[in-house]
Symmetry: C2
Subunit: 145 residues, 2 copies
């Protein structure tokens, strides 16, 4: 996603393309990891323009509301964020907690009526297990052997 595309996506969501907001969005689109607010804060403040902590949080809130970014559902202390580029699922490692992207495939939704009066918008899959790195190790990290 190039600079112009980011600018357009912000403006078509009714958000001004301020330098600080752009920086958050640009950083997120360039990441396949799932950074926390603190990590985003650090990253955008390594280059101009600098942003205050409140601005990082304000912009993340605005971007999530606008549907350009999602807050990833995962356990753990700090919220993690993800630019909504191409649809994908997530793999969460039982051991190291890393959240990795997995190519999207359409999930066989529930049978009609299964969800009662609820209105379904989407089905998201979360895979759990060991990531490639953790799979290749024999011994759990906490083991003293």
């Amino acid at each position: 996603m190039d600079a112009e595309a980011i600018k357009r996506s912000l403006e078509s969501s009714g958000l001004r393309c301020t330098p600080q907001r752009y920086a958050v969005m640009a950083f997120l689109t360039g990441q396949s990891r799932h950074p926390t607010a603190a990590e985003i804060f650090e990253a955008v403040n390594r280059v101009d323009p600098r942003s205050s902590r409140a601005t990082i949080y304000n912009n993340l809130r605005d971007l999530v509301e606008a549907g350009l970014v999602r807050e990833v559902a995962a356990e753990g202390r700090a919220a993690r964020f993800d630019a909504k580029g191409t649809r994908h699922h997530h793999f969460i490692c039982d051991r190291c907690g890393k959240v990795e992207d997995v190519d999207w495939y359409d999930v066989s939704g529930p049978a009609p009526g299964y969800l009662g009066k609820r209105t379904l918008r989407e089905c998201e899959l979360i895979f759990r297990g060991l990531c490639a790195k953790c799979s290749s190790r024999r011994v759990p990290p906490r083991s003293s052997s």
Copy 2:
């Protein structure tokens, strides 16, 4: 799940069945909601035995480690907990954030090789949309009309 069953499940996980630990487990098994640590704290302290905040957190940690309780993957400030009774999926409301149980059905897992070198343990399905209550309302809550 009756008292004896809870006691057995704790002990077969190598955990002492202390009054405080039992109280947390008993409360969680009786809930279809997904309470936060603060809600559990409040609930168990309405009856004896009382537990300190640290004990609630200690026991939740122990129960999650033992596999008797899971921390629910959902957005939002405080972690939510769920006794692992019968398997089920979750429906998360876009609007009010409520996490509701949905009967389990087996998810068509990814094709072999899809996940590369990762080791898959389970597929969890998260449905998103509007819960029954929010579906029946016309106007979004923030609208000023």
